[in-house]
C-alpha cells in the first residue's frame, strides 16, 4: 500500500518537479511496485490529455494594439538614423585607420593613376568616327595618317569614280571607324 507521500512524489515526478536524485528514487519505486506503476501511468495519461486538449483562450486584440504592433515591427526593421557628424567622423576614422591602410592606399594610388593616365590613354571615342555624306553625287572615304597625325576625309565625285591615286598612304585603320555614307 502506497503512502500519500509516495503518491505525491509520483505526481511531482510526472510534472517534472523533482531533483535528479529524487527522480531516480521514484523511477526505482515505479519499476518495483505495480501499484506505483499504475498510478504513474494514470497520472501521465491525465497530464498528456490535459496538455493536448486544454482550450486556448485568445485575448481580444484592440485596434490600437494591432497598429502599435505593426509600428514596432517597422521600427525594428528600419536602421537607426546616424547623425551626419558622427558619420563623417566615422568616415575619417575609416580612411585614416591603420587597419584599412591597404585598401585606402590602393584606392588612392588607383585614383591618382587614373587621373594622370586619362589624358595619356586615349578613350575609345577618340577612335570612333561617324561620317555622313548625304549627297548622291559625292562619296567619301576616310583614313588616319598616323605618322603625320592627321585624320583625312576624302570627298570625291562619284561620276569620276574617284579619289584613287590622290593619296600616297594606304587607307589604314578603316576597321575601327563607324562609317555611315
Amino acid at each position: 500500500m502506497m503512502t500519500l507521500e509516495q503518491q505525491l512524489k509520483i505526481q511531482a515526478y510526472v510534472d517534472g518537479e523533482l531533483s535528479r536524485a529524487e527522480a531516480k528514487k521514484v523511477e526505482a519505486l515505479i519499476a518495483a511496485d505495480p501499484e506505483a506503476r499504475g498510478l504513474y501511468e494514470e497520472l501521465k495519461f491525465a497530464a498528456t490529455v490535459l496538455r493536448e486538449h486544454e482550450p486556448e483562450f485568445k485575448m481580444p486584440v484592440s485596434q490600437e494594439l494591432f497598429w502599435n504592433r505593426i509600428y514596432e515591427q517597422i521600427k525594428q526593421s528600419e536602421p537607426e538614423p546616424i547623425p551626419v557628424l558622427d558619420y563623417l567622423k566615422y568616415l575619417v576614422g575609416v580612411v585614416f585607420s591603420r587597419k584599412n591602410w591597404v585598401p585606402v592606399t590602393a584606392t588612392f594610388i588607383a585614383s591618382v593613376g587614373i587621373f594622370l593616365l586619362k589624358d595619356v590613354i586615349k578613350p575609345i571615342e577618340d577612335y570612333l568616327v561617324v561620317v555622313e555624306t548625304p549627297s548622291d553625287e559625292v562619296g567619301s572615304y576616310s583614313f588616319r595618317a598616323q605618322s603625320e597625325k592627321m585624320f583625312v576625309l576624302w570627298i570625291y565625285n562619284k561620276e569620276n569614280v574617284g579619289g584613287e591615286g590622290a593619296t600616297k598612304v594606304e587607307p589604314t585603320n578603316i576597321e575601327d571607324e563607324i562609317l555611315m555614307q
Binding site: 536602421p79 537607426e80 587621373f115 561617324v130 555624306t133 549627297s135 595618317a145 576625309l153 570625291y156
Partner: protein
Amino acid sequence: MKKRVFKYCRFFQVFLIAIALMLPAICAKAANLKLEIYLVWGSNEEKLPDPKYKKLNEDLAKKLQKIFKWKHYFQINKQNAEVPSRATKRFKVSDKCDVEITEMPGPQVEVKLYGEGKLINRTIKALTKDEMLTIAGEDKNETAWFVIIKLLQEN
C-alpha cells in the same frame, strides 16, 4: 545596428570618397575650343594660282606632301576660331564653302561642310591636339582643296 551598418559599408565608402574626390577632374571635360581652320589648295605647279594665295607653312605642307600626291600647297584662307562648350558655330572659309562646328560631349566635335549652301559632309569625331582633321577633295585641272581643322587649345 549602427556598428553593423558601418562594418558592411566600409570598402564601399572608401571607394565613394575616392570617386567624390575625382569627380571635378572627370567632369571638367566640357571645354571651349580654340581652333585654326585652313583652306588650302594643292597643285603640282609651283606658280601661285592666285596672287592672293600664299605658300602654306612648311610643317603643314610637308605633312600634306607625305600623304597626298600634290607637290605644292597654297594657303587660301586661315582663321582662328573659337567654339564655346556645347555650342555650334559656322565659319566661312571661302565664298562657296562654309564649315559648321559643334562642340560635343567628350573630346568630340561635329563638323559639317557646306558647299554653296548645300550640306556636303557631316563628320563626328574626337578632335585632339595630337590629330588634325582634314576634309579634302579633288578639283579640276589636277588640283585639290583641303579644309584643315587644328585644335590649338581647350579651356
